[in-house]
Symmetry: C2
Subunit: 255 residues, 2 copies
């Protein structure tokens, strides 16, 4: 049960994570979850994510699919100075535009290097597709860029997060999602019938059931999400009452 | 620079992570990286991953794209007893087959419950698409299943990992990838030209450059991957020699 159908008027987003290291298991991605939480403060749902290797054709195909489908696309990775950083050219290709040295990006980068050290490869970080605007970050100076509805961000989490701060003011806001989380020491199968009935009674909210194990036995987190705070609260109370009727103690999880 | 082109004869895999909680940022996925490392022991590369919400149409579309494109697809999530567990039906739909109660799955699950507690919702975990074979796990007993080249696994990491153990013997093996990792205290931009030349000289290996920050300044990990161990070692030494020529000390990272 997903919150917002694709037909919703709320702004939507997709995240495109780029890099061989994510698919080999070498690097554990954290950018998707961070971006999702960042966007939730704008009422924007991440509705899909894809992880592709450092292959231009793969980046182009995924980006063109996603940017046609969602209000915004956020890419991470592949905008550094080395040979395996191919995202900028792939984005240019996806949009059918040339990639040029960007005067402002050159002006940002050049003073960071000693005379003679701003070499050809480092200058690659100032190459930006035609028509794009820069995305600044306070950590590395090297910019990301926005072209159309696509935001091209660094892969290093600290830099990616700084870039999101620069992106925030450019985003349309949607209706905020309210979340209520209920924790109970019970196997989810025992309460599944009640949950299903409560969900069916209020299709405008989404109830997620997330089971875990603990030494004290099974735990389930029941997460109610919706854009109508009253509907979320009524649903959360209905769940708590159903649990209580079954003799199950529950607690609200805050934050 | 990605290791194996799509035209390779080596077996390939995609991972399809299913669940609203991954896209909201509530849950930090770890199943992709684990699966990638598990498959690397079989010489199988994960070449793409997608994360979709709990929406049948999204699961069906992603699964049908991925299963046509890669040797194997591994899905995680959505096979529990609650209303938001819709993966099994979506997989049945994707394959155009009916979903039935599976006698062996029922026989596994029923003894786990007290009389009368094996309710309709819990029985949902015994529903398996026609033609699928079960994937066992020692943690929860509730099975996953294999249908064609698709392995449908639980989302809870402990259970997903146990299921992979049951899947392993069913997989074709590819040529193992050898990796050499070199760490150096240097900004990647300074060595990017040399790296690019070394990469161009040996297209059968992939050199990845992964910069990090530390209090002692920039660090880069240079990762050489390839299916020809000698080519990987020659390339790693070429990188070490290039670093040394530039007065940069490097160390091999083991493991």
């Amino acid at each position: 049960m997903t919150l917002t159908p694709n037909t919703s008027n709320e702004p939507s987003a997709a995240v495109l994570l780029i890099g061989d290291e994510l698919l080999s298991g070498r690097t554990q991605d954290t950018n998707l979850a961070y971006t999702a939480k960042f966007l939730s403060a704008y009422g924007i749902d991440v509705r899909e994510a894809r992880i592709v290797p450092d292959l231009e054709a793969e980046i182009v195909a995924a980006l063109n699919t996603l940017r046609a489908r969602y209000t915004y696309v956020f890419t991470t990775g592949g905008i550094g100075p080395t040979h395996d950083d191919i995202t900028t050219d792939a984005v240019g290709r996806a949009f059918g535009v040339a990639v040029h040295y960007h005067p402002e990006a050159l002006a940002l980068l050049e003073p960071r290097y000693k005379p003679g050290e701003f070499n050809t490869m480092r200058r690659r970080m100032a190459r930006i597709p035609e028509g794009a605007s820069l995305i600044h970050n306070s950590v590395s100076v090297a910019p990301g860029f926005q072209i159309g509805n696509v935001f091209v961000l660094a892969g290093i989490p600290m830099i990616m997060r700084a870039m999101l701060e620069d992106v925030g003011p450019r985003l349309s806001r949607g209706t905020l999602v309210t979340t209520a989380t209920i924790a109970a020491h019970v196997g989810e199968g025992r309460i599944a019938t009640a949950l299903s009935e409560i969900q069916n009674a209020r299709p405008s909210v989404a109830i997620g059931s997330y089971p875990m194990f603990s030494e004290a036995g099974p735990i389930v987190h029941l997460v109610v999400r919706g854009r109508d705070p009253e509907g979320v609260e009524i649903t959360a109370r209905a769940i708590e009452e159903a649990l209580a009727r079954d003799g199950i103690t529950s607690t609200r999880v805050v934050g």
